[in-house]
Symmetry: C2
Subunit: 256 residues, 2 copies
């Protein structure tokens, strides 16, 4: 029920799959052909996950770390009362499951928001291969650290921003990530439901709707259902606090 491996018989183990999330991920770290081939062979390619289906379930033992090859995933945390926090949406090229390393089991549910394709590697293999390869190890450290930074940014949003700011920030963030993948920064599809966006942003569905229609009315975005066109990036940036960038400048108070 985890999804179906496509073409694993037809395709020899280690063959490069088109736009493979893992291959793209470790490519910048590995100049060595030998190491590249080893990694490619360790990856189980093209694991399909249908929309709405789980890739990882909270509580299950850590086996694989996945890289998203195609589609869209959400990572979420639930409590017994049914309250849910979506902690992130993953785009192609991003890793999922690394947060399981600490406890040995996945702490979050990871679910496909669109029909998706993931490539996985056994954590044991990743571990083993990175032991012998400093560049790879470093690359992994950086990925985990980046995840922490992303989480901190979401905390900031959840702790400090108004509904309008949250939605604007969300759209800018998605836009930038799509642009980095070579897609349009202005036009994209919010394939996740409003409820999922709401959960991610710490708001309710109705609030998302209201903000969206407000932004639409102000001609900052054009909404047609799940399709979004950003008509004014400045407009969005203005909403996120007149500049929106995190302050790297030092404002530390040094008493005594």
């Amino acid at each position: 029920m985890r999804g179906i491996s496509i073409g694993s018989a037809a395709r020899p183990a280690g063959a490069i799959c088109a736009g493979c999330g893992w291959c793209d991920w470790f490519a910048p770290a590995l100049t060595d052909t030998q190491a590249t081939v080893e990694m490619q062979c360790a990856v189980e390619h093209r694991h399909a996950v249908r929309r709405g289906c789980p890739l990882l379930r909270a509580g299950e033992p850590l086996q694989m770390i996945y890289a998203l090859t195609r589609g869209l995933l959400k990572t979420s945390l639930a409590d017994l009362e049914g309250r849910v926090q979506v902690t992130g949406f993953s785009l192609p090229g991003e890793l999922v499951g690394i947060e399981a390393i600490a406890g040995g089991s996945y702490p979050c549910n990871v679910t496909a928001v669109e029909d998706s394709v993931c490539c996985g590697i056994r954590y044991a293999d990743l571990d083993r291969l990175s032991h012998g390869n400093g560049a790879l190890q470093n690359h992994l450290h950086r990925a985990m650290s980046r995840e922490i930074n992303r989480d901190h940014e979401l905390m900031f949003l959840l702790g400090n921003m108004s509904a309008d700011e949250r939605v604007a920030q969300f759209l800018l963030n998605l836009s930038a990530r799509y642009a980095a993948l070579g897609r349009s920064a202005a036009c994209f599809r919010l394939s996740m439901s409003r409820r999922e966006i709401a959960s991610y942003l710490g708001l309710k569905v109705e609030t998302i709707s209201r903000v969206m229609t407000r932004l639409n009315g102000r001609r900052i975005i054009a909404v047609r259902g799940k399709d979004i066109e950003v008509r004014s990036f400045e407009g969005l940036q203005q909403i996120v606090g007149d500049d929106g960038k995190r302050d790297v400048a030092v404002r530390a108070i040094v008493p005594h």
Copy 2:
């Protein structure tokens, strides 16, 4: 102005400092005496940071990763308008600075909440030493992964919980961490200001005060300024949604 190294002249490099955050941190990973000594030598011990003083400033290049040996630190993110999100409080034995690995510079400010002692290791050294040592590398991975999990829990709190729940959860969390350090789970000192607690929990100072007095009135806690006594753990747990534990049970919806 980063603090003062104490006794670095009197103490030979690598000597074990009492309750050293780093030594305690890597001890469980290293059975090998040789590796242990190497690590101990690489650590710059007993870096004192006075209350209110920064240990790390956002924007500065990554040099050291610190482990807290004594005291209390806060990690925070600020924007240009002066809004601040405290992303975490660090207790002895915990690492700070690992989130800097991704970008090569510290993304957060880390400040001493109490007079503190930190032990640091150059990231380059940590990196080098962990290359040759799988156990150490793994230990580091786990620490980073744990940080991601902590962040996810705070996101859940910020996105889903009422003011009362947030404060109750905060007290339970601190209590458990103090207990794990061998201190009292029931009586402890909230040495951070109400403002800092508020920032951490995504609330305002006044709200913290109100919730505290409310809990005090219900005999769930006893508050005298910064000193807290938990009088009813069940009371706190009940507030955090009748059980407070994250749901590991599967509630995934599998359509089709």
